[in-house]
Symmetry: D2
């Protein structure tokens, strides 16, 4: 089986490029072969050498080489700061190159809706948004159990993402990760909300299939910080249920404490990213714990098809991100006419990207207007 060839835009300097590199390589069915890895051509050259891939001074050159037949590419992964995503994603889709794009999808809502219009025209060019956590098998299983009616009608969702790494003003100390995340020019209108609040939102909505009607928000930041680092939102879901979304980056000791509790009329489903291999179903009397890759009757074959190792040996973050790449890979292989490709599980894409932008816009506006309920 031929390995899919991947080009990367950005990723040379930050840690997340390397994370995608690993998630792409992990299954030995995909490989990064080229990259416009950094805006500084010398650094791009350096990183390309380290990675052992063809380096390009800019993404336009990489796409041009592919069009000219000088470079094999099956898709492109975008790992640049938020304000660059839109332009790059547009260029790829226009050229006919499938995209795995980091979230948040765009810098402004306008960019997001424009991108959506473009994607509609480019139906045969798959676009995936790397909301990594949706790639966890247990989140797939949660989604399937909810579809099967296991918890009845959803009445309330608590979804959260707690971190502590911005409890001091790291951006004043030259920390690169902190600097761009707290800089409105690079991150957009929200810091914590854009970085991790959207994960909490998409995790919940993607799993339940519900929409979000309106929000009331309370956003704050440490003195001296330009964007929110604490982001709390009440919401009304499309079925009238209540959403409580809390995200923070000042909860010292919390790493990536991200998860949800979904309460229905017949039971509850709960998942926490830091024990991603477990899923809990609660009825009035007991708690039932399901395990990743275990022989659970309710698990559909399509979810099982993402398993790599036996139960008790966890597949975790890299594997979940790998699963999103696998879904994209499966779609691309089918489009290319390969046989016996297992079906691709759903993954977040343009719609979730637009939703994330609308959500951030509404939350920021609500907080400015003292928590006034604001339509999404």
């Amino acid at each position: 089986m031929r390995k899919l060839k991947v080009g990367m835009i950005g990723g040379g300097g930050g840690f997340f490029g390397k994370v995608h590199h690993r998630a792409i390589s992990l299954d030995a069915t995909r490989e990064v072969v080229a990259g416009a890895l950094h805006q500084d051509p010398a650094l791009c050259e350096k990183f390309a050498g380290e990675w052992g891939v063809a380096g390009y001074p800019d993404y336009q050159a990489m796409i041009a080489d592919w069009k000219a037949g000088n470079l094999e590419l099956d898709y492109v992964t975008i790992v640049t700061p938020n304000f660059l995503h839109a332009e790059q994603a547009v260029a790829c889709l226009e050229a006919g190159l499938p995209v795995m794009c980091e979230k948040p999808m765009c810098y402004t809502l306008k960019e997001a809706t424009d991108l959506k219009a473009l994607a509609k025209r480019k139906k045969n060019v798959p676009f995936a948004l790397s909301h990594t956590y949706t790639g966890h098998q247990m989140m797939m299983l949660a989604r399937e159990l909810i579809k099967q009616g296991k918890i009845g009608d959803i009445r309330k969702i608590e979804t959260y993402y707690n971190q502590g790494w911005l409890a001091t003003l790291l951006e004043k100390e030259g920390n690169q990760q902190a600097s761009w995340r707290t800089n409105p020019k690079m991150s957009g209108i929200s810091g914590c909300g854009g970085d991790i609040g959207t994960h909490a939102l998409i995790n919940a909505l993607w799993t339940t299939g519900l929409g979000l009607k309106k929000v009331s928000a309370k956003l704050t930041a440490l003195k001296g910080r330009a964007l929110d680092d604490d982001f709390n939102v009440f919401g009304e879901l499309s079925n009238g249920a209540t959403l409580v979304l809390t995200a923070t980056q000042i909860a010292i000791g919390h790493k990536n404490d991200n998860g949800f509790r979904i309460y229905g009329s017949k039971g509850s489903i709960e998942w926490a990213q830091e024990q991603a291999e477990e899923l809990h179903f609660l009825d009035g009397a007991t708690r039932v714990t399901y395990y990743q890759n275990s022989f659970v009757a309710e698990t559909p074959d399509i979810v099982k098809s993402y398993g790599r190792i036996p139960s008790g040996h966890h597949e975790d973050f890299l594997e979940a991100l790998g699963n999103l790449h696998t879904s994209l890979e499966r779609k691309i292989r089918v489009i290319k006419g390969e046989k016996d490709v297992p079906p691709a599980y759903d993954h977040p894409g343009i719609d979730e990207g637009v939703l994330g932008m609308k959500f951030l816009t509404a939350a920021v506006n609500s907080s400015k207007k003292k928590g006034a309920w604001t339509a999404v």
Copy 2:
């Protein structure tokens, strides 16, 4: 050592009278000797017989007998439905009888402030409000660690209380516990908020010593229910920090899932009632778990003085409620002139009772006004 003699008002029918009975008896230094256990004289007689105590048709008769010297009483425990507390507490304090009162303290805010004025005049008549969870040793330790500056300035508090037992309309099926709790005439303006939301609030404020300035609330109820069963509040604390308080009675599978996470500038402190014997301190690198009755250097002697059994053998709910009775007992013994009485640890009282009423009033008003921020 003479056992303190306790009279009880209410408690014969519901389960919580028996809970207080056990918490009082547990240490073998206190005993219930009399009770106006039920409004129905026949039932009162029946329960008094079962408990082996002197039965009184009404609390006035019990107090009168005590005044007449026919009955020994050291204090009274009030376990009636909310709307009766104020009148009974007033009668006890007026008579000079110390009180352990169930929460919420009163039915209306006016009753609460009147009671506060009375208590001010009756300084030598101790009054305790049975916010049971504050009796846990690990909550005492959390409070002491925070006083010692262990987590620095507090920036955010998440406090919660999740239950699932009202996920169906039990009050329509004759369930007594559900009936009075969802009945505005007996419970007041809030169901879930009054029953468990105030626990979440007082746990957090008592532990940190902070006040609450204003709130923005989202309260809902299942269709067909008269009072809220889902109660979510954002707040601004007296030091400007953020409060996120969530309480619910429709989270199926949750029993008494109550606790807090307190985030400061130097670390975090976290406690959960369902593992009440543990307290967690988090810094950026590690999580340190303290155990009840363990030899932790930071534990003050006054906290240790509440321990009953060696670490690893938990003291839990009955013991925590017992601790509140112990604090009241110690105060009473000192007032009576006994020697070598260990010092009583602080416990919630009138001020917390007033605060709880103000909080409920503000939260209910805010929710009615679409989450408008409302002063407490």
Copy 3:
């Protein structure tokens, strides 16, 4: 309802007398009224004053006063060091007084078998052995589930009890608890085995109904200590299944880390004392967690009858010990002709006491003979 009157032998100096005092008092249906609390008459007097009970210089005097009709007693609790149990238990049974006896039941196997012969003659005088952990509701439920065939045939049991408090030679520093436990004259042939190893054994055998055929043991002690502080045993159970029993007092950081894992042909049942309110059933695909006092269909009414507070508010060590007293209380009330007494759940007694002694004898002998398999 009249409270049962309890006399105590021993308990004035150590901490465990007070523990029984609380477990007896907890339900407000029993009370300690008299005690031969200490061998030193002055100390006995002092403790009796503190407890507010009638003090006796020796247990014979207490029994004599009861026989003479000067003292009301329904049963006696024995909390003396191991080497005194037999004589005192014999005296009570001979007099017709029911007994709650601390474990290990006796100092020698001979004493145990003699006591058994006596008890056979005194059928109407209940005798309970306070293997506290068997009083936990979740252990009752485990026993019932196994009886119902939930896990099929038992193939292996791992039972354990880890403590760390004897990791230093506390007995050389004047620690009273350490001194008698490491002293062969007071504790008998085994230290760790007698103190906590028998808990691990009885927990497992009582829950499964299995017997023990033979053992191979490895016992060790820190240099300078007279009795074992680390106690490891392989066993063959009556059905041929394997027992692995590990107990230690040198595992620093472990408090009362005691529990079992029972593996059957259809599933596993697991319980841990430090989370005593949970019971786990595992099949190949999921783990099902049952909660104390929760509405679990498999829970028989007799087990439910021991519940005191709603699920999520744990009943723990004192309540479990209280449950053993409740079982004894129920038996006594029935014997006394009271009506409507709920049925008493089974509890360890003479047979478990004899078994414990046989087990210790076999384990100590096996360890001396380099682990040779030794009949129990």
Copy 4:
């Protein structure tokens, strides 16, 4: 940076070849390029096609091609059933090809000692034994903390590995994994011991640096099974401390429940594979939890150099196996003269392979001789 080229022997049929394939690919610095993936040439061809690597009908042909300069290879991974390891490892070492070999290292002790003699002569040809769990960063940290004296002198080790998948006679139902593992001709003298017991052993000895003097064992198997499926061993360690090793494959519901508790004179260190990202240090008063990739002061730089993603996003089984490949990779790069290669952390090799064989031999013999203590 050039990717290292890896050849694989075996692995085409079982699941573990693919696991190594992923662990090799994960870091995008190594790639499988060739494989003698199956003894059946047609199947080998098929798998080679699927993997996209050069297929060889036998490993000799692959080595020959490399020697002839027709194939680039930096090292070889051996993933065949146990009885084939020795011959293949010998061929690689003789040819000068570094080896990553699956465990147990050999089929007989003689093979193992012969291989050791060969390896001694081939000092510049690295040999790694894939005891995957030793690749976890938290096990590296445990080893470093113990070296630093954090827990003092080691007094007892409990090490365990519980599985449940062989609770039925799967080998009679055509399950391939079960068939070779329960077949003495393919697995050697021990089933459970060889498959997972040696993991429990090496985890403990590698982490502490202790040796094993003698053992007393109790091995059993379900009726109808040829090799042990329950494997329990007491041991005496080189410093006189006690080892309790329990491994089983009939504990229904247990997946890969593998870990250790190491008790020293100053504290305890505990790790469990199913929460591999945490390491616990216990002193008498508290439990301190360390997190993978967290900023823990005690973590040496060499351990940090294995980290891939931020704390809270776990690196788990594939990453741990990847770490062993990374250690081998680093050694090879240094030998090849590359600059700036980070130092390789220690990993199990020939000595651990020999030790594993000696241990199995002694345990099987002891069990046959009714648990007689047997020198290792």
